[in-house]
């Protein structure tokens, strides 16, 4: 055994592997949303498949989950069932879907096949998505009773994330 080679090799590889190991889980592109702790940007949008107009102000007084999604996004498709089920389980929470960059006919097809559960609003020109700083879909915001954003989640919703977000949104 050549000790010099062994020690020299370990001298290089141990720090490299250690640094890579410590870096796992870091997302260099993650930017903490500046909206957290602030009032959610208001919106007044038409519901898909109807002529009803829904404004964020109308929802004040209840915890709100705002979910940005699209029919062409596979993770959105996967989380849809979960959100519909949670909306049924939590009648005290208002759920709102905001459909990003999509067509009404496709949205209606999607909802007819996969269930509605709560209103889905049309975001013409993506203005609301821009106001919320949406990076990609799905993204979800948890608002407390006063309309303040208390948590944000990028990517499909999981049980843990939903539970934690809801806890913050319902805390007095």
């Amino acid at each position: 055994m050549n000790r010099k080679v062994l020690i020299g090799g370990l001298f290089i590889i141990v720090p490299v592997v250690a640094v890579l190991l410590l870096s796992l889980g870091n997302d260099p592109q993650r930017i903490r949303s500046p909206l957290i702790g602030h009032h959610a940007p208001p919106f007044t949008l038409r519901e898909s498949g109807s002529s009803a107009i829904i404004a964020l102000d109308d929802l004040r007084g209840s915890p709100v989950v705002v979910n940005f999604w699209a029919t062409w996004c596979v993770p959105c498709f996967e989380e849809h069932q979960f959100l519909v089920a949670e909306a049924a389980n939590h009648p005290e929470v208002k759920f709102v879907g905001i459909v990003f960059d999509d067509q009404e006919r496709t949205i209606q097809d999607f909802l007819a096949r996969n269930g509605t559960g709560y209103p889905h609003l049309l975001d013409a020109g993506g203005r609301t998505a821009i106001a919320y700083g949406i990076y990609g879909v799905p993204e979800s915001f948890f608002l407390d009773r006063r309309g303040v954003i208390v948590a944000k989640h990028e990517g499909p919703m999981t049980e843990d994330v939903f539970g934690a977000g809801l806890k913050k949104a319902t805390a007095e």
């Binding site: 055994m1 050549n2 592997v17 640094v19 796992l24 997302d27 592109q29 596979v74």
Partner: protein, 678 residues
């Protein structure tokens, strides 16, 4: 049905790789020819199943079978057929499946090419290849499974990342990169086999060199194709940004290039065995590190679309490969006994040695710059990035020194030589150096590094030309051959490898000069123009004619029309675009590049203001950029010339095929070095 069939094929491939690897190692340890024959069968079967799995996935993509999870993720009915094809490598799961395909083809080819040769080494080499194949098959069958079943089946998918749909180069760059990256597994296996047997015989250098050169050629093309893609698509006017993933492709190329050179010394002089093996193994490790960089999501990069959750799995594989390499080197490197020594510090072999050290220094410099942000974040929790100034400042001097050595090395004779001989060799090329630097200065080059590059470039070009044609000239002088006869005999038959190597060098000189000139002599202008307005850039007048909207199934394009004239003479109408893909909010620009041999006129849209009908343009004159693409093709061509040895077939038939283990290992004295090898 398709997802199930895909999963079965991948599992069968995993089984063949794992079983083949165990059998191959056992055959190597027990010197069992039958065992090795079985291992070969498993290697071929692994290839068969991997090919079938890839054909199945391609079929599913082309036929829009959204019951396959990967197709649901990257497929779309609205994209053109070629985009459906390239979707195979456009996202994580598919690209790992594609990796498996390339690896399986390499393993099958290398196994077949050496089926009756090097029987002492081959079982171990096959064992290592199939062990790597086991890991990648495991990834495909588990953490990066592309054949999951979608229920309910979606009606359509989003299509691949818009950046990948934006240019046809995306159909070419990734396969070349994979052919380069994945191919480095083969020399890694061969080098491991040399260490496991404790021998690196002269005859084994040939497969080692061949299977290092093949991926090297692909990697050379891939790096430059990536730069070309960035230049043609990203719209900022450059081709290299020291992005972590760009660096990840360069790092193994640097060590592989060093290894190609150290192999020449090993072949000629019989020393640098341990060093060469270390370089080859490091090359493989750097490809795995690069894979981790691209897939783990810990680096901020233009390639972030391939980020995923398989980072930890790749890190485990990287750690195992590192431990394997270090332990194997530490325990076996002393058994690789050198057959020669360095006779004279002023010889060609010592120039090779310095060249190797510079390549390794450059590798470390770039590696440190790339990994440093992670170190800072791990220690201080602060996000930072190492930018272009560091990489430029560190790599330019080393690059220029390498260019210098590329001229001085081949000018120096092998072994000892007299001072007079040396001066006769080293002094005349100074004419080339001074001439090129003077031409550059006369044309307005003022940057000292660019002038130095031109000087060394001219020097190296003269040496390269002299050495490249020396065998032909000598034949004409000594034997009185006619030029064509001397060319065929001196360049193509006897000195083919040498000829190929100097073709590579001549291409490299042009690449060096083009990079230096294009990065220091650029002219740029950013302007906002309304329809009908003009601007000037260097000798060109650019008149903005207006914008046109063009709807396509998968995108909406805004095309600006700009009339280009020079000295009042109309040259062309350039049409840079801004593409808005249905699935992405941010538009993707496509610059229009008008290429000529001397410079490119580069025009890209920065923004469009529909309210005022104003378009922001970035206009650039990039000198010599086109030469980078041409010279790289020359380098690859030289590599192919050096690779294909017409004497190989003759030699193979002259040597009786050894069917027993323990065939004699040739030393430098027992087998002639191929005449004229550089």
């Amino acid at each position: 049905m398709t997802p199930l069939l895909g999963r079965v094929l991948v599992l069968l491939a995993l089984f063949c790789a794992a079983a083949g690897s165990v059998i191959a190692f056992s055959a190597g340890a027990r010197r069992s020819l039958t065992g090795y024959q079985w291992a070969r069968k498993f290697a071929y079967s692994f290839c068969g199943f991997m090919v079938a799995a890839n054909v199945l996935m391609t079929y599913a993509l082309v036929t829009h079978d959204f019951s396959v999870s990967y197709v649901a993720q990257v497929g779309s009915r609205s994209v053109p057929l070629w985009v459906s094809f390239v979707s195979l490598w456009s996202s994580l799961e598919g690209s790992i499946l594609f990796w498996g395909l390339i690896l399986s083809l390499y393993i099958a080819a290398a196994t077949f090419a050496n089926r009756d040769q090097h029987l002492e080494y081959m079982p171990y080499a096959t064992g290592v290849w199939l062990a790597c194949a086991t890991f990648f098959s495991f990834l495909i069958s588990g953490p990066a499974q592309p054949f999951l079943t979608m229920t309910p089946v979606p009606a359509d998918g989003p299509g691949p990342n818009p950046l990948l749909q934006n240019h046809i180069l995306m159909a070419i760059h990734p396969p070349f990169l994979y052919l380069g990256y994945v191919g480095m597994t083969i020399p890694f296996g061969l080098a491991s086999a040399a260490l496991l047997t404790g021998k690196l015989g002269h005859s084994f250098l040939r497969p080692l060199r061949t299977w290092l050169l093949v991926p090297w050629i692909f990697q050379t093309c891939a790096i430059v194709l990536g730069g070309w893609w960035a230049y043609e698509v990203l719209g900022w006017g450059g081709y290299w940004a020291w992005d972590p993933v760009e660096n990840a492709s360069l790092l193994p190329w640097l060590t592989a290039t060093a290894a190609v050179h150290s192999l020449v010394v090993l072949e000629r002089k019989g020393f640098l065995k341990g060093w060469t093996v270390t370089l080859i193994m490091s090359t493989f490790l750097l490809t795995i590190l690069g894979t981790f960089m691209t897939r783990s999501g810990v680096f901020n990069s233009v390639h972030s679309f391939t980020q995923s959750s398989i980072g930890p799995t790749i890190l485990v594989f990287l750690a195992l490969a590192l431990i394997w390499t270090v332990v194997l080197l530490a325990s076996r490197v002393d058994t690789l006994i050198a057959e020669g020594t360095l006779d004279d510090p002023l010889s060609r072999e010592s120039a090779f040695l310095v060249n190797n050290l510079l390549f390794v220094l450059l590798t470390f410099t770039i590696l440190i710059g790339t990994v440093f942000p992670l170190v800072v974040e791990a220690m201080k929790g602060v996000q930072m990035s190492v930018g272009r100034p560091y990489f430029d400042r560190m790599s330019v001097p080393i690059g220029v020194a390498l260019l210098f050595l590329m001229g001085v090395g081949p000018a120096l004779p092998w072994g000892r030589s007299s001072g007079r001989q040396m001066l006769r060799s080293l002094l005349p090329p100074l004419i080339g150096g001074v001439a090129l630097a003077s031409i550059g200065a006369a044309m307005g080059v003022r940057n000292p590094w660019t002038l130095l590059t031109l000087f060394f470039g001219g020097y190296t070009a003269q040496v390269t030309m002299r050495e490249m044609w020396r065998p032909m000239v000598q034949r004409m002088r000594k034997h009185g051959d006619k030029p064509l006869e001397a060319f065929v005999e001196g360049q193509l038959r006897r000195g083919r490898r040498r000829f190929g190597a100097y073709i590579v060098h001549s291409g490299a000189v042009v690449v060096f000069i083009s990079i230096a000139v294009s990065s220091t002599m650029q002219t740029s202008r950013q302007v906002h123009l309304r329809s009908g307005e003009s601007t000037t850039l260097g000798p060109y007048t650019l008149k903005f004619l207006g914008v046109e909207e063009r709807p396509e199934p998968n995108r909406q394009s805004t095309i600006a029309r700009v009339a280009v004239s020079r000295n009042g003479k109309q040259l062309a109408v350039m049409t840079p675009r801004m593409n808005q893909y249905l699935t992405q909010r941010e538009p993707v620009g496509t610059p229009d590049v008008r290429t000529s041999l001397s410079s490119d006129l580069y025009l890209s849209i920065l923004n469009v203001d529909p309210a005022t009908q104003t378009v922001g343009f970035l206009a650039l004159i990039n000198p010599m950029v086109g030469w980078i693409w041409i010279a790289t093709a020359v380098m690859a061509f030289g590599g192919v010339i050096a690779l294909v040895s017409p004497r190989k077939a003759a030699e193979r038939s002259a040597l009786a095929p050894s069917t027993n283990f323990g065939a004699p290992v040739h030393g430098p004295g027992s087998e002639p070095v191929v005449e004229g090898s550089s």
